[in-house]
Structures are given as C-alpha cells and as structure tokens.
C-alpha cells in the first residue's frame, strides 16, 4: 500500500487575480476518512477540482503515485453540484454507467437505489433535490474505486438519509478504501473523520488526527487584559470579554494554567476549528 493515497505539493490556483489556493501541501492517509474542513470559499472545491484535473493549476499532485490521467479510473467522485443526466430513469442510468465504467457494479447500484427508496422507472428530472443526491451517491458508491472523493455529500439530505450516508462513507474506509471528504458541517466531520485538515482562505491552517484532539490541545479562556505573545501559541482569538488561547505545548499549557482568571475549556472539533480559523495563523 502507498504511504499517501493522494499527495499534493505546493498547489496554487488563481482565478484571474484571485488566489483561490495559495501553495498548499496535503497528504491523504490510505484507508482512512480524510476530511477537508473549511468555511464556504475556503478553497476546498478548487483543491478537489485540481486533484481531479478539472482545472489548470501549478504544483504537483499524485494519486496512488500516478498522474491523474493514469489513476482516474481508480477514483469515484461526488461533486458539490450533484447534477446527473436527468432525462434518464435510475434504471437507464445504471445501464449507462455499466457501459461507461469498467469498475461499476450494476447490481450494487440497483440495490442501493432500492435501499434509498428511489423509483427506478421515474425520470431523474422529476426527483427532489434529496432524491437526486441519493441517485448520485448510489452510483458513485457502486464503483469499485480505491479512492472516494465527496464534496459536501450530505447537502440537501434529510437527517435519516444523512446518517445513512455517513455510515456508508465510514464503511468504505473500514473496507480499506481511502476517502477524501469536504464539508463545512463540523458535527458530520467529527462523526466520521479519522484525519482532518482545516482550510481557510486558500491555505491549510492545520492537519492532524481526529482522535485525541482534546488530549493533544488545551484551550484556555483568559481575562481580556492579559498580556501574552500571540506567537507563542497555536492560535489566539480576542473575544468580547476574553482571550481564547489554543496550544499543544505542555510548557505553555502549564503557564496558562497559572494565569489568574484563566479557565480551561473543552477542545472539540467545533471549538478547535473556530479558534484556528479566527486566529488564522499557520500551525504547521
């Protein structure tokens, strides 16, 4: 198995004068759910498009050690806009995909569509947004790919279907597949991600494992007038009545603990993400 399922080195992408991605490095751990988390406009979709060769970019990207044109058939992609050929019925869509892709299982797709309660003989154009998304997901998950890339896969799904889809994504990594998953919905990422990266304004602010986040980092709330050197910490955010300080350095943690009026807060993905993004400082 490769050390990195996808390796991105110094990726840059401009749209005119706007720098959408600013020289990022990113590595995907094989067999894990790798989440790319960030607010809207962070550059997540542009990064995925670059990986898939859908846009021109500068930098180096390898997929399972190969260029995209060699590795393309080992990837299954669900884009942010889940538009499928809506003149088809799911039944015809399955037939078309069988002819289009060598690694596609028609039986698996038909079964998945039935599990999603999709009417097999109704045109996709007559489907609701959630049904269209379910159709796309059923097709994408019926590919025997090595890497699955999902861009906001649960957008528009009802809570029950959303949980079902998240379980399916988790099951992919349990069966040894690599998943790259983007979302701005933090609880979802927290639920399924093994590894995550936080992207903001075209930069990767943090990459690390989900497990043990609370053990590795400490988040302190300090009185507003406390004098600290921002550069000593992972992120510092000035709030209305306090300073939020995030760090993973044991010496700094001990120092923060001693400050009068300091209060340790729980580090979960939501507080971590908020502090890192609002602190907006590189930690790697």
């Amino acid at each position: 198995m490769q050390d990195e399922a996808i390796r991105v080195k110094n990726l840059r992408k401009n749209y005119g004068n706007f720098e959408a991605v600013k020289g990022i490095d990113l590595s995907l751990v094989p067999g894990k759910v790798n989440a790319l988390l960030g607010p809207n406009g962070a550059g997540k979709t542009t990064t995925l498009k670059s990986i898939l060769g859908l846009v021109q970019y500068s930098g180096e990207i390898t997929i399972l050690g190969e260029k995209i044109d060699v590795a393309r058939e080992r990837i299954s992609f669900v884009p942010e806009d889940k538009s499928f050929y809506d003149s088809l019925t799911p039944e015809k869509a399955v037939k078309m995909c069988s002819m289009l892709m060598n690694n596609f299982s028609a039986d698996k797709a038909a079964k998945q569509m039935k599990d999603f309660d999709l009417p097999m003989n109704k045109k996709i154009s007559a489907f609701s947004h959630g049904m269209k998304t379910s159709t796309y997901l059923a097709i994408a998950m019926s590919q025997d790919a090595d890497i699955f890339i999902f861009d906001e896969p649960t957008w528009g799904l009802d809570p029950l279907r959303r949980d079902e889809v998240l379980e399916m994504i988790s099951a992919l990594s349990e069966s040894g597949k690599t998943v790259l998953y983007t979302s701005h919905i933090i609880p979802e990422v927290e639920k399924i991600a093994d590894v995550f990266s936080i992207m903001y304004k075209g930069e990767i602010l943090y990459s690390g494992e989900m497990k043990g986040l609370d053990d590795r980092f400490a988040l302190y709330s300090l009185p507003l007038k406390t004098e600290i050197d921002r550069n000593d910490f992972t992120a510092v955010v000035k709030e209305a009545n306090s300073l939020k300080v995030l760090t993973d350095n044991p010496k700094d943690i001990a120092r923060l603990k001693e400050i009068a009026g300091s209060k340790r807060e729980e580090v979960n993905l939501e507080s971590f993400f908020g502090t890192i993004v609002r602190g907006n400082k590189h930690v790697l």
Binding site: V55, R72, Y85, I149
Partner: protein, 256 residues
C-alpha cells in the same frame, strides 16, 4: 460512452429525419407542377422591364426544370434539403459539449474518463449522426424520385453528396468549437444561427465570396457544370482539420 451520446441525440435525429422526409415527399409531389409553373414564369419574365430582369439574375436554369435530374439537384439538394443542412448540423452539434457544461454533468464525465476519450467519443458520435443524416437523406432523393416514376440517376447525387459531407463536417467542427467554449446552451445556438446567416452575407462581397460555403454544399458546380469543385473541397477539408485540432486543444485546456 457512445450509448450515452446516442441516447441523448436520438430524439433530435428522429425529428429532423421526419421533417426532412416530409420535405422530400413534398418536393417530389410538386414535380408535375414545376414545369408548368416554369413555363408560366418564363413567359412573365419576357414581359418584365429590363431592370427587373437584371434583379432576377441568370434564370436560364428555370427552363431546365423539365429535366428530372436537374429538378432533383436544384429543388432537393440545392434548395429544400441542402439549404437546411447547416441548421441540421447546428441542432446536432450545439448541445454535445455545451449541455454537459450547462447542466454540470461534465463533472461526472471528466472525473471518470480522460479528456481525450471524452472528446473523441462525443465528437465522433455527433459527426457520425450528422454524416448519417446527410448521406441517407441525400441518397433518398433519387431513390424516392425513381419510386415515384421519374427517371433520375445517382451519379450527380453522389457528386453532390461528397460536397455535402465535406461541407457538413466543416460546419460541425465550427459549431463544436462554440459548443466547447460555451457554458450554456443559448450562446451556441445564437452564434450558430449568426454564422449560418452571416457567411452568405459576407459572401456577397466579391473578394470574400469564398467565405460562403452554401454554393458548395448546395452542389452548384455539379448542377451547372456536372463536376465537383475539388479546389473548394480540399480547402474546406484543410480548414476542417485545423478547426478539429483547435476544438481538441480548447477542450483539453477548458476549466470546469
């Protein structure tokens, strides 16, 4: 991938085929009246003032309409069928790429297939449909005339057909480029109509008459001299080859 492309253009091809078939039947049904009408028109022309005769241009062909072969060349290939061929090409070509960009289905395709394969399959599927419609309806001309009891030969139709095939391939490569460059389906149609109508207008300027491919597609040289316009044919083929190469390059670099 051919299955998908054929499925998507099936309805358009059938509709165009039926419409042109109706036009063919009408053309043949009007055959008995053509000679009579031409005789009447010739008589009227002789009585016209000189300035009106000049406006009408060369009307010597009118008297030849009594000839079944000339009737087929002028009224089917040169008029009812031939002049609609660029529109047939436009209707086939404009959505081939533009629809994928417009409907955002291009993500599905390009994330699973290499651009080279996508371009090759789409381009050839559309071109195959265009060439098939052109060839079938062109050959149906003399077949239908003979079935209706008129005496027509295939030799001239085959000459016109060769010119038509080259002509529609040129238009196809041109409309494909617009389809690739567009992100919606309206612009390629508007641009295509402007091109189809604009080229003959530009061709009215003597120095730019070569820009008007209509006389070539309508088989003017075959109808008038009985020969293929080889110089125009080879030139148009060369331009088409260049346009096709540009089509591929534009698609290869296109960001989605």
């Amino acid at each position: 991938m051919f299955y998908k492309e054929i499925h998507e253009m099936k309805l358009r091809v059938i509709i165009m085929f039926v419409v042109l078939l109706v036009s063919l039947v009408t053309t043949i049904a009007l055959r008995p009246y053509a000679a009579q009408m031409m005789e009447e028109m010739t008589a009227q022309l002789e009585e016209m003032p000189d300035f009106l005769k000049n406006l009408m241009g060369d009307v010597s062909g009118l008297s030849r309409l009594n000839d079944d072969n000339y009737y087929l060349l002028s009224q089917w290939h040169g008029k009812n069928y031939g002049q609609f061929l660029p529109f047939v090409v436009l209707l086939i070509a404009f959505p081939i790429f533009a629809k994928e960009f417009d409907k955002k289905t291009i993500y599905f395709l390009l994330s699973r297939k290499n651009r080279n394969e996508v371009f090759r399959t789409k381009y050839l599927a559309g071109l195959g449909a265009v060439l098939t419609i052109t060839a079938v309806l062109s050959l149906l001309g003399p077949v239908a005339m003979n079935l209706a009891g008129y005496s027509t030969v295939f030799a001239d139709t085959l000459k016109v057909l060769l010119q038509q095939l080259v002509g529609v391939t040129f238009f196809y490569s041109l409309f494909t480029m617009i389809s690739i460059m567009s992100r919606d389906q309206v612009k390629p149609v508007v641009a295509g109509v402007v091109i189809v109508l604009g080229l003959p207008i530009l061709g009215m300027i003597d120095a730019l008459s070569w820009l008007n491919p209509y006389p070539f597609i309508l088989g003017s040289s075959v109808a008038q001299k009985g020969t293929i316009d080889w110089i125009y044919l080879v030139s148009l083929l060369a331009v088409t080859a260049v346009l096709t190469a540009i089509d591929y390059k534009v698609f290869e670099k296109k960001e989605v």
